[in-house]
């Protein structure tokens, strides 16, 4: 695999520089087929769990051999026309150096249609439609949408550290150096373009802690966590966004520091949040390589913590739509998700089994109940767990 300019390996060996050529090659092939009245076919990687492979040596979910073939016919002509239309818009983005979110691209596409009556049939009625076409193009070209300068909103990943320095290469080639220790209580917000960031430390870090709840991360920092511990502390804010996933991957690769995830003990956290952070997701098989941190460990809450610290826990209400759905998804994960089938993840699988069997859940904030008069108690427990190796 080729190395990305930022140092990350890339699937398919393409980067932004290759994309215009690669896109034109595909279009050329389609046109040549049409000239010969031959039915053109496009092949895209199938991004679904049934085409996911997990190998602990690789560390993230990768795509299998399955491809989705889209042959030009009356059923696919609309989809293919829209793909070529949006590809043209995205290539123009690359040429002009334009940067957009998916929402903005949706409106750009609508604007194109608005000013050209011949394209009226291509109009998108909502963003889901244009998002689907963008994903299709990326699966077709085996590239990231970020390669086309199309980014999601920066969300989650607020980062605190007294020792981390981030050097960002800007679009115009300038660099910006951010010393996180000088930001006070203001967090550093990781960007959707981790490849533009370079990390260094004032001194060797002991660990990186990723907290599921952004609020709890803020509390720990406010109580002086990063002052007392030579660490990086990140608030994930729920299911990690691409920015958070890429950011954690960057920290793992560039700082060579142990990563721990601290979150709720429930099926949703284990299967949706932690698995995505550690190994990526089935929907983003082609990008998991740069958007997952396989070294991250599950610090807790662990099932044994409930008894050990006498944490308040709750019964999972199957009647509750959300909790019932999470439980059902956990069943599905145990059955179909290759990540939980791998023997290296046996500990995580056991936690999932425990959750299904006991139908209990415990929130990360439960550590605040251990000694309600000591605001530092959660911090003490977290550090003690790291020291004792009490994680999975």
């Amino acid at each position: 695999m080729a190395k990305h300019s930022s140092g990350m390996a890339r699937v398919g060996g393409k980067d932004s520089k290759d994309l215009p050529k690669f896109s034109r090659d595909i279009c050329e092939r389609l046109l040549a087929d049409l000239e010969r009245a031959k039915r053109p076919v496009l092949y895209a990687t199938k991004c679904s769990l049934d085409n996911s492979i997990y190998n602990h040596k690789v560390g993230f979910l990768t795509a299998g051999e399955k491809k989705v073939a889209t042959e030009l016919n009356v059923s696919s002509v609309k989809k293919m026309s829209r793909a070529i239309f949006l590809l043209e818009v995205m290539l123009r983005n690359l040429e002009t150096g334009g940067v957009n979110t998916k929402r903005e691209l949706y409106y750009i596409a609508k604007g194109e249609v608005k000013h050209n009556a011949a394209m009226k049939a291509l109009d998108f009625t909502d963003q889901d439609e244009s998002d689907g076409v963008i994903d299709f193009i990326c699966e077709l070209l085996e590239c990231y949408r970020e390669d086309f300068n199309v980014y999601a909103n920066d969300r989650g990943g607020q980062t605190y550290s007294q020792n981390l320095i981030v050097t960002e290469t800007l679009v115009d080639g300038d660099t910006a150096v951010i010393d996180l220790s000088r930001l006070g209580t203001t967090p550093f917000q990781p960007k959707n373009r981790p490849q533009n960031l370079k990390l260094s430390t004032k001194k060797k870090l002991d660990f990186c802690l990723i907290v599921e709840s952004e609020g709890t991360a803020n509390t720990l920092v406010a109580n002086g966590f990063t002052k007392r511990h030579n660490s990086v502390l990140i608030g994930a804010a729920g299911v990690p966004s691409n920015a958070v996933r890429g950011w954690c991957k960057l920290i793992q690769d560039q700082l060579d520091v142990p990563l721990y995830f601290f979150g709720d003990l429930d099926a949703y956290t284990m299967q949706n949040i932690f698995r995505t952070l550690k190994a990526g997701s089935a929907a983003s098989l082609i990008r998991n390589q740069d958007y997952s941190a396989p070294d991250v460990k599950f610090l807790g809450v662990l099932p044994e913590d409930i008894a050990k610290y006498q944490l308040p826990d709750y019964a999972v209400k199957e009647s509750d739509a959300q909790e019932g759905r999470a439980l059902k998804k956990a069943h599905d994960a145990l059955k179909n998700d290759p990540f939980f089938h791998d023997k290296k993840n046996k500990g995580l699988t056991e936690i999932l089994n425990w959750l299904i069997k006991n139908k209990r859940r415990c929130e990360q904030q439960a550590f605040f109940s251990v000694n309600p008069r000591d605001p530092l108690m959660p911090e003490k427990i977290i550090v003690e767990k790291i020291k004792r190796g009490n994680f999975v």
Binding site: C27, L31, L34, E35, A37, K38, N73, V74, S81, A118
Partner: protein, 650 residues
């Protein structure tokens, strides 16, 4: 009017001809006179004259409709009894202000080509309550008790001091007989006034005219037009001429009459099944004892075998096995005392008997219903299901259903469907919610068949759903026969029939959706093909020559697809109907056996092993072409022609 159908005084009811009323139900005042405490006896006519709301005269609108309905029912029953294809003409018009507050003076006239009535029977038919030739006979006639037409005469008498004007002639009479019939309310007798004989322009028939207080409502569920639509639908052999007020006025007051003729669609008379003897398990002890009085001095053995259905030597042996002695059956039935009757009755109830025969049930028939539904409006598509008679609540019942999509209501996708309910081929127009038919419709998941349906409600759409229940013993909730009692077994039987009709409907709707899908794909080819080529050429900077070549190539590829889509569309349309047979041409109806059935519904239906063996017939038809021009496949424009498919032998 009614031939000899409504005059045979029923022995059962002879005793109940008098209704006892306690004149002093309230606690007697200490100084009350003796007369106040005396228990008086009222005649049946007196009872009904004070309770006409119980038999359909509860409002001004209902009074007009009930009068019309009773007269038409009697005409139809009389014609069918005598094998005459009915031709009925009706007039309903406003004559001025009525005597009651906020009422109009309405003339309701019904004239038929029936057998006519002997003059001596006229007062019984029109002026005597419970004088019926049909009560308890176990036949599927419209009228049963002999109340309705007498109630109409009473209403005319009470509101306009004048009864029913009847003119009638049988074939045996040289001249027609005409008289004014009134009800002697005190004695429950019909009285003839203004008798005369006259020349008439027909060999036989009856004409009856009522002048009553009421209000004319033409439209809506309770409207006269709805009643006539329903009557026409379930009586394919009926030719109806109606003279109703025309013009913008909803109540038709003072407007000229417009004559509309609806010819019959079949010359085949419905087969009137023979009445069957009562079934022992459907009788109560009192009825059982009363039934014995009809037979006089006969042996118990003979009485049971002849007087009841499903009793044979085997039954007698079973009864002996329960402890009755053989010589008990050799006794004369009039010698049995009450204890012996009770003992016999109890033992019979504990003995297994074959279920009552379903032979007594009259069917409209699928073909007749299929033709008749064409008369309710511009029908786009319909589905007819006629289930074999079955036993519900130990009584024979037959359910027939017709569902039609109406072209003239195409915009009413969000409105509930129109439900037409029928009991023994009489439209039911009031108290819909409590009726077994409505409840059964609401229990079916119509969404599975492609219709919209709010939770536990009637489905939505431009459909008309006609549900006909035929049985010699329909259980009504009230004397005015407006609502069928929703017993679990009957609701289930109706539900099963609805499911079958729904399956048929669903096949059509799904095919229609598929056809629409294909049409859309064809449109896509025109829209997206050139855009695709333009986009590719812009990205690759291709020359105009290449562009032209690619466009030609694309059209070749998609042209092949278009041909395939056209073929598929034509096939889908073909499956909706066969060839170009029109619904009017009944002789060209094509049979198609072994049609596949929706598996979900099959499960539901097969749950009852009994129903499995039942023969079911379905008809469906498509009429009134609605051709659509397609952008590419213009030759598809002629695919939507009126068609009919008949499937038989389930």
């Amino acid at each position: 009017m009614t031939g000899a159908v409504c005059f045979g005084l029923d022995l059962h009811m002879a005793k109940s001809n008098a209704v006892k009323t306690a004149a002093a139900k309230e606690p007697a005042a200490p100084r009350a006179s003796k007369a106040n405490l005396k228990i008086s006896t009222s005649s049946t006519a007196e009872y009904f004259s004070k309770n006409l709301q119980q038999v359909g005269f509860s409002s001004q609108v209902k009074a007009v409709l009930t009068t019309l309905k009773e007269a038409v029912d009697n005409s139809l029953d009389a014609c069918e009894e005598h094998g005459i294809l009915p031709e009925i003409e009706i007039w309903v018009e406003k004559m001025g202000a009525g005597s009651l507050k906020n009422s109009d003076k309405i003339r309701v006239r019904v004239s038929d080509n029936g057998p006519g009535i002997d003059p001596e029977d006229v007062p019984k038919v029109f002026g005597e309550y419970l004088a019926s030739s049909k009560f308890g006979r176990g036949r599927c006639s419209r009228g049963q008790q002999g109340i309705g037409i007498s109630a109409a005469t009473t209403w005319a008498q009470l509101t306009n001091a004048s009864g029913a004007r009847v003119t009638t002639k049988t074939k045996a009479m040289r001249k027609a007989f005409s008289a004014l019939v009134e009800v002697d309310i005190k004695n429950n007798k019909g009285v003839l006034k203004e008798k005369e004989t006259l020349d008439w322009d027909r060999s036989n028939g009856t004409n009856v005219e009522f002048i009553i207080d009421g209000r004319i409502q033409l439209n809506g569920e309770a409207g006269i037009l709805n009643y006539l639509t329903g009557t026409v639908l379930v009586n394919p052999h009926l030719t109806l001429h109606h003279n109703l007020p025309c013009g913008a006025s909803e109540d038709g007051g003072g407007r000229a009459l417009e004559r509309i003729s609806i010819p019959r669609v079949t010359d085949t008379m419905p087969e009137i099944p023979e009445a069957t003897e009562p079934h022992l398990h459907t009788m109560k002890l009192g009825e059982f004892i009363a039934h014995s009085h009809l037979y006089g001095r006969v042996k118990v053995d003979a009485w049971l075998k002849r007087g009841f259905s499903r009793v044979n030597e085997g039954t007698i042996k079973d009864l002996i096995a329960t402890g009755l002695k053989r010589n008990f059956f050799d006794k004369n039935v009039d010698q049995l005392n009450e204890v012996e009757f009770k003992d016999l009755y109890t033992k019979i109830q504990n003995t297994t008997l074959i279920a009552p025969s379903t032979k007594s049930v009259l069917m409209i028939g699928e073909e007749a219903l299929a033709k008749s539904i064409q008369r309710v409006g511009k029908v786009d598509f319909f589905s007819v299901v006629s289930r074999k008679p079955t036993i519900c609540d130990f009584k024979p019942v037959e359910v027939e259903i017709a569902i039609a999509r109406l072209l003239d209501r195409a915009g009413e996708n969000d409105a509930p469907i129109q439900v037409l309910r029928f009991a023994n081929r009489v439209p039911l127009q009031f108290d819909k919610a409590a009726c077994a038919v409505t409840q059964a419709i609401q229990t079916v998941n119509w969404r599975a068949y492609g219709l919209g349906q709010p939770k536990e409600s009637l489905p939505l759409g431009p459909y008309i759903m006609a549900v006909s229940i035929v049985s010699p013993f329909i259980k009504f909730k009230n004397a005015s026969k407006e609502t069928i009692d929703a017993s679990d077994e009957l609701v289930e039987e109706i539900r099963r029939t609805l499911i079958q009709a729904g399956q048929r409907l669903s096949k059509y709707i799904k095919k229609e959706l598929r056809a629409n899908d294909l049409e859309e794909k064809l449109r896509y080819i025109e829209q997206f093909g050139p855009i695709l080529v333009d986009g590719l050429c812009r990205i690759t900077n291709a020359s105009d020559d290449r562009k032209k070549k690619a466009q030609d190539g694309l059209m070749k590829i998609l042209g092949r697809d278009a041909d395939a889509a056209e073929t598929a569309l034509a096939e889908a349309e073909k499956k909706l109907g066969h060839g170009s047979e029109t619904v009017e041409n009944a002789s060209e109806i094509e049979s198609r056996d072994g049609e596949d059935v929706d598996p979900i519904s099959v499960d539901e239906i097969e749950a009852d092993s009994k129903s499995k063996s039942k023969s079911k017939k379905k008809l469906s038809a498509k009429s009134a072409p609605a051709p659509k021009k397609l952008p590419v496949a213009k030759k598809l424009a002629d695919v939507k022609k009126p068609k009919i498919i008949v499937s038989k032998g389930k």
